[in-house]
């Protein structure tokens, strides 16, 4: 057995980076899931789809949430308390922790309920963790990304929204306004208060995500822009997932048609949240250790 040559190790280190591994694993995972979905739609056999969601979905989301929290924590340690980004990465670390804790608890309770032969909603009370994973996490994310926008604004690099962004925000805003009207007027079809709070926060998150995406795009690439672009993508996909839910429950879109969006959008969203700190960690590692060649 021969030891690998230093050049091959450097080559591997250059091309097999953590962000690329995350992108590759997500693409393979998502590809398998979409193949199973098409198999179900074309052949009517639910077996592969069921196996995919039972065996592959939960581990993927769990590992992505763990990676998000771990990497955000590692990046956080590189900032000093007087820096604005210290607060930003601290909040992103908290967001990752909230995600993984609520996810583990919900999975554990769901399995318990499964063995107790009851559906999860009838099992032990999960509402606290649903609030933590829903509006709680969105609020923390929103605060963290608002700090990033402030840093960009102070640098004079903050971009503006495009007409498409404004149109999208107007559509979602009108939906939120309608929900608010239904809630305040006490209509029977009105949403619960916590659901309305999530809608308002998601509208804010969508605004921040679009602004961050435009700002990162205007920066013209680089590790920093890719990091914030990934967070913007994650926030956008999270909003898109909720828009998909509204389409089914409010706009009357058939759930089978919407399932391709509603079932799968969470995987790239989870991967994007892990990918973002991975980009920044990669940049910090290259700069601090100075051992890797420059890479485009």
């Amino acid at each position: 057995m021969t030891a690998p040559s230093p050049s091959s190790a450097a080559h591997r280190a250059k091309y097999l980076t953590l962000p690329r591994i995350i992108v590759l694993v997500t693409a393979v995972h998502l590809g398998c899931g979409i193949l199973a979905w098409f198999y179900w739609r074309l052949q009517g056999d639910v077996g592969p789809l069921s196996s995919y969601f039972n065996l592959a979905a939960s581990p993927f989301l769990l590992v992505a949430a763990g990676g998000e929290a771990l990497l955000a924590g590692v990046v956080w340690r590189c900032y000093q308390r007087q820096q604005a980004m210290w607060w930003c990465w601290g909040l992103l670390f908290v967001s990752g922790i909230l995600r993984i804790v609520s996810y583990i608890v919900m999975q554990h309770r769901a399995i318990e309920a499964l063995f107790a032969d009851q559906v999860p909603s009838q099992g032990p009370d999960l509402s606290l963790f649903l609030i933590i994973d829903g509006p709680g996490r969105v609020a923390v994310l929103l605060a963290a990304l608002a700090v990033v926008l402030r840093v960009y604004r102070n640098s004079g690099w903050l971009a503006t929204l495009k007409p498409f962004d404004r149109a999208l925000l107007t559509i979602v805003g009108l939906h939120v306004a309608r929900q608010g009207y239904l809630l305040l007027s006490g209509s029977p079809g009105g949403p619960p208060a916590d659901s309305f709070l999530t809608d308002v926060l998601l509208l804010g998150l969508l605004f921040v995500a679009l602004l961050l995406y435009r700002t990162a795009s205007a920066s013209g690439g680089g590790y920093v822009a890719r990091c914030w672009g990934a967070y913007a993508a994650g926030a956008f996909l999270l909003s898109l997932g909720n828009i998909g839910k509204w389409l089914v429950f409010s706009a009357g879109v058939p759930w089978e048609a919407a399932s391709l969006l509603n079932w799968y959008v969470w995987f790239p969203a989870a991967a994007a949240y892990a990918l973002a700190p991975a980009y920044l960690r990669e940049a910090q590692f290259r700069l601090l250790h100075n051992s890797l060649p420059a890479q485009r």
Binding site: V151, S219, G220, G221, G222, Y223, L287, L288, A294, Q295
Partner: protein, 153 residues
Amino acid sequence: MITVVRNLIHSWLHQDLSILLAYRDGELPHHKARRLLRRLRHCPPCRENYDALAMLEELMPDPEPVADPFGLLAGRQRLAVAVRTGSDPGQPDLAWLDEVEQYLGNRARREVLSRAQLGIDREHSVAVVAPFAKDMLGVRAGQALADRLSGRR
């Protein structure tokens, strides 16, 4: 009327005073500066105008010594020497700017490049993006990037 037409033709044929002033102050982009340098060598009226500017400068009293925190004056002086001696200011080595783009993006590269084109040295050109690098990458990594770009590491 004839004078107006003559002045108009003169302005078309020869360089405007504002461009000569910008050149003298080192504020022209590098490619425009090179083009003007060629013109000054081959066009006597433009050369006369530029010499007249230089004479005016000599008649002016010596300015008070000022601080040059960004190396701007040093860059202008280098360009002025190149003009007076007729030497080529040379094409600066800007390969190091690729690293700015790799970490901070094309926009940061353009910011640094615009300063480097004025003849400002690397260290002071990089200073324009160093605070942003420290904000975004953390103090140590941002400083490491600034050091690498300045050629200190």
